[in-house]
């Protein structure tokens, strides 16, 4: 039995699953941090407008 297809399949599975985990963790982190930053910006904007109106 040729062992190389088994070795290649094992390495491919390990690399693909690890890459999928890292990609999912990275994308979910970027998305969550972007929405938190956007919310922070919208929080600041009305208060800046209010300060402008007071002046």
């Amino acid at each position: 039995m040729n062992p190389w297809p088994f070795v290649a399949a094992a390495y491919a599975a390990a690399i693909l699953l690890t890459a999928a985990l890292l990609a999912w963790a990275f994308v979910s982190m970027r998305r969550a941090e972007a929405s938190a930053d956007a919310m922070k910006r919208t929080d600041r904007a009305p208060s800046a407008d209010a300060e402008g109106q007071e002046r």
Partner: protein, 239 residues
């Protein structure tokens, strides 16, 4: 550990650490796998299939280490009420499940040319499969608890109870001597594998451990940002 109870302080460390762990992990994992594939000799008995060792063993250790992390975070949450403990345990679970799945898949692929079978209900294989199902259960339970606004105490108890499986996995090759080989690498007692074949293993272990850490830190950052947005939305609804 309590120094990182403050999320802002934790994030100051986690932001650069996640990038560094990712880069170091990639470098070591590629070096370890490359050396394992190209620079080591084949085994006298198993031939070229022994090269699966460099991904199978680190993934098995990280799968078990992940649950140990969940158990430690669960103790920290239940005893000291550490504010980031539940979040850390939730972040570890997908990474632990992924590495346990890698261990099961690569072990099955290794088993076909070595043992002549893809799967056997052997003590080590079955206890590892149970660990994978425990991870899936933890992910489902902690998500459900979080959606209901719980503190994660039920998940923490589940995490501690699930840790009973770890010594079962470790000693399974001694208690039920069936198909899986006995322990060949021990922290205290050295290794039965020749050094000419063993040396890439620490490289791939460090590499995959750093990638595991990077995935956990990125998930923790995501959960903290999601919690911030949810808290803001709740305040807006209350106003």
């Amino acid at each position: 550990m309590h120094a990182f109870a403050n999320p802002a302080r934790f994030l100051r460390l986690a932001r650069p650490a996640s990038s560094w762990l990712l880069l170091i992990g990639l470098a070591f994992a590629i070096a370890g796998m490359g050396a394992g594939l190209m620079l080591t000799p084949p085994d006298y008995l198993q031939g070229e299939t022994v090269r699966i060792l460099y991904i199978h063993v680190p993934s098995a250790w990280l799968g078990m280490g992940g649950w140990l992390g969940i158990a430690a975070a669960s103790i920290s949450q239940l005893v000291w009420r550490h504010p980031l403990a539940a979040l850390a345990a939730r972040a570890v679970a997908p990474a632990g499940a992924t590495f346990t799945a890698i261990c099961l898949i690569t072990g099955s692929i290794w088993g076909r040319p070595t043992w002549g079978t893809w799967w056997e209900w052997d003590g080590r294989l079955t206890s590892m499969l149970i660990l994978f199902f425990l991870y899936l259960g933890y992910i489902a339970l902690s998500s459900a608890e979080r959606e209901r606004g719980g503190e994660g105490r039920i998940s923490a108890i589940y995490g501690l109870v699930g840790a009973i499986n770890l010594p079962i996995i470790h000693y399974s090759v001694l208690w039920w001597r069936t198909l899986h080989q006995g322990q060949s690498i021990s922290i205290s007692g050295g290794s039965s594998i020749d050094n000419s074949m063993l040396w890439p293993l620490p490289l791939s272990l460090v590499g995959f451990a750093c990638l595991f850490g990077a995935a956990v830190l990125m998930r923790m950052r995501a959960e903290l940002a999601e919690a911030k947005v949810e808290a803001r939305l709740r305040r807006m609804e209350a106003e």
